[in-house]
Amino acid sequence: MSKYILKRVFYMILTLFIVATATFFLMKAMPGSPYANEAKMTPTQIKIMNEQYGLNKPVFVQYLIYLGGMFKGDFGTSFQYANQSVTSLILPRLAVSMQLGLQAMVVGVVFGVLLGTLAAVKQGTWVDSTSTVLAIIGRSVPNFVLAVILQYYIALKLGWFSIAGWGSFSQSVLPTIALAVAPMAETERFVRTSMVDNMNQDYVELGRAKGLSRMEVVRGHVMRNSMIPIVTLLGPYTVALMTGSMVIENIFNIPGIGEQFVKSILTNDYPTIMGVTMIYSIGLVVVLLITDIIYGLIDPRIRLQGKEG
């Protein structure tokens, strides 16, 4: 186990190194200049600015400085906001995005498991079809469309929740729902398939044969075995929530990391783009590692040996 984890950590670091390198050199190759009014600036001004941001040094030296800084948690200075370091720009926003993401994940998983279980237990009835239709709609309606509709009809027309902003509980309800729909649909489908699969296993018949009721077998045995594989969805959830946060945070005007990411892309703020890219990659890599470890711990059938079948 520990050998396997060590190996995974090595690959994690390799992945992050590749992302950092690729991001850095891609940003260098990028067209466009970080200065908003370059045409109006004198060459001396540009030179001073370049020196201030370290852009006058050879590219390779800039790269080494960047990598060195990253180990200390320093992603450089933002081009967009004068004298503000990327780290201080991102960190407070990270907390907001993580809270929103976690809320959405919990809501999505809870409702997904509920719907999926109902669908599997009541297989072939209207409950099943309703749940399946909900899942299809959840997978098909893009979250940003849903967000705009929710914002207009529920927040503005009905006035049930705040329209935008961040801070109070009421402000987080609608973005959470909009973000949670995708994980919910995914979970519903996954749980249903997994449970239907398990209900046809021999141990269910054994349970019935020894006198347990159908519901008891479902609760005591089928649910347990079907829920374990949900852990593998953690990675895809994280990716979906990262993607979702970019657009949902924009629609609801939430000061999160996704909103900042879009802003920095639109303003050519390279250091911030690189910083957010690294944060996203670190996030996913860590989640994938945790997934593997949890999976190995809770399912004794999976042996972690660093071998793939």
Binding site: Y11, M12, L14, T15, I18, V19, A22, T23, L26, M27, A29, M30, P31, Q123, I136, I137, R139, S140, V141, P142, F144, V145, V148, I149, Y152, L156, T193, V196, N200, T238, V239, M242, T243, M246, V247, N250, I251, F261, V262, I265, L266, I273, T277, Y280, S281, G283, L284, V285, L288, E308, G309
Partner: protein, 342 residues
């Protein structure tokens, strides 16, 4: 249980030879791959309806190319700006008769702006007076192109990579799998955004960006399946007979992998459509003069409160497209994969 069991010699008659042969023959007529998939698929009404919807959309989107092009999309007509939908013969239905809800009243915007009586816009116009219907059809075409190209990449790079990795095995396989592991632990959002930031924004870069990040799942699944297939007797036989690896891959592996390939492609398509719409919506995807469903949604969203049709129409088209592909995908999965058919 205690029934009497009477057997008379007459019960043991010899069957005529033809009938005996018939009894041996318990299999139905043998079906080709296509036939058996079709038999399963046509049981699912939702899948068939979806297929029809997709075919119609493809026909309309691509058939419109001679009539709707950049030229017609760019020209603005300020006198027609922000008109709601007006369809001939629909004068009774608010929302399709040129009326728009202003405050609590439905107002005929066409009369208000002195638009000639015989002027119709089936889906209204946008803020520059461009017909929204035409823009939606054009946008659908862009979405479909992006989706099909992504699927094509899946089909070529993903399948080839998976087969080579699984077939070669050993060090090659190990190396190739490590590469995939690294690529797939980078959020594909990051890959797509970086590609878009570096390349010129536009359709080509968006297609490339989505394609580059979408093939890894396909490659993984194909590799796993190739690993089992390559130890099958018929593949061993072909190998022993001196068949080249290429021919084995084409003649034996690809046909057996086809279900997997189709199922996986049906997942890639809606994902690619979503990604394109998403990127265009936040403003880093398709840019003017081209348009896409995501761009239209972004434009519509700004005026949603006053001109709701500008958001609703593209949203409905996008959702119908996504639902159709998802349902067809589910139907095909059930038809192709006997395990999921429950």
């Amino acid at each position: 249980m205690n029934e009497e069991f009477n057997v008379s010699p007459e019960d043991f008659k010899k069957l005529p030879p033809d009938e005996a042969q018939d009894n041996e023959n318990i299999a139905g007529p043998s079906l080709s791959f296509g036939q058996s998939v079709w038999l399963q698929l046509k049981k699912k009404k939702s899948a068939i309806v979806s297929a029809v919807v997709i075919i119609l959309m493809v026909l309309i989107a691509f058939g419109s190319t001679p009539f709707i092009n950049n030229e017609t999309l760019v020209k603005s007509h300020p006198q027609y700006a922000n008109l709601p939908a007006k369809v001939p013969g629909m004068s009774a239905i608010n929302g399709l008769n040129g009326k728009l809800k202003q405050g609590d009243k439905w107002v005929n915007v066409y009369e208000q702006n002195h638009i000639p009586k015989d002027k119709y816009f089936f889906a209204g116009t946008d803020y520059l007076g461009r017909p929204l219907g035409q823009r939606i059809i054009y946008g659908t075409k862009i979405s479909l192109i992006v989706a099909f190209v992504a699927a094509l990449f899946d089909l070529t790079i993903g399948v080839l990579y998976g087969i080579v990795s699984g077939w070669k095995g050993g060090g090659v396989d190990n190396g190739m799998q490590r590469i995939i592991e690294i690529i797939s632990s980078i959020p594909n959002l990051v890959i797509v955004v970086l590609m878009l930031v570096v390349l010129k924004p536009g359709m080509m870069s968006i297609i490339l960006a989505i394609a580059i990040s979408s093939w890894t799942t396909m490659a993984r699944q194909i590799r796993a399946e190739t690993l089992t297939l390559k130890n099958q007797e018929y593949v061993l036989a072909a190998r022993n007979l001196g068949q080249s690896s290429w021919k084995i891959a084409l003649k034996h592996l690809v046909p057996n992998l086809s279900s997997l390939i189709i199922i996986q492609m049906m997942y890639t398509i809606p994902t690619a459509i979503f990604f394109e719409a998403f990127l265009s919506f936040i403003g880093i995807g398709i840019s003017a003069p081209q348009t896409s469903l995501g761009v239209l949604l972004n434009e519509g969203q700004k005026n949603f409160q006053f001109l709701p049709y500008q958001m609703w129409f593209p949203a409905i088209v996008l959702c119908v497209l996504m639902i159709a592909f998802n349902l067809l995908g589910d139907g095909l999965r059930d038809a192709l994969d006997p395990k999921s058919r429950r």
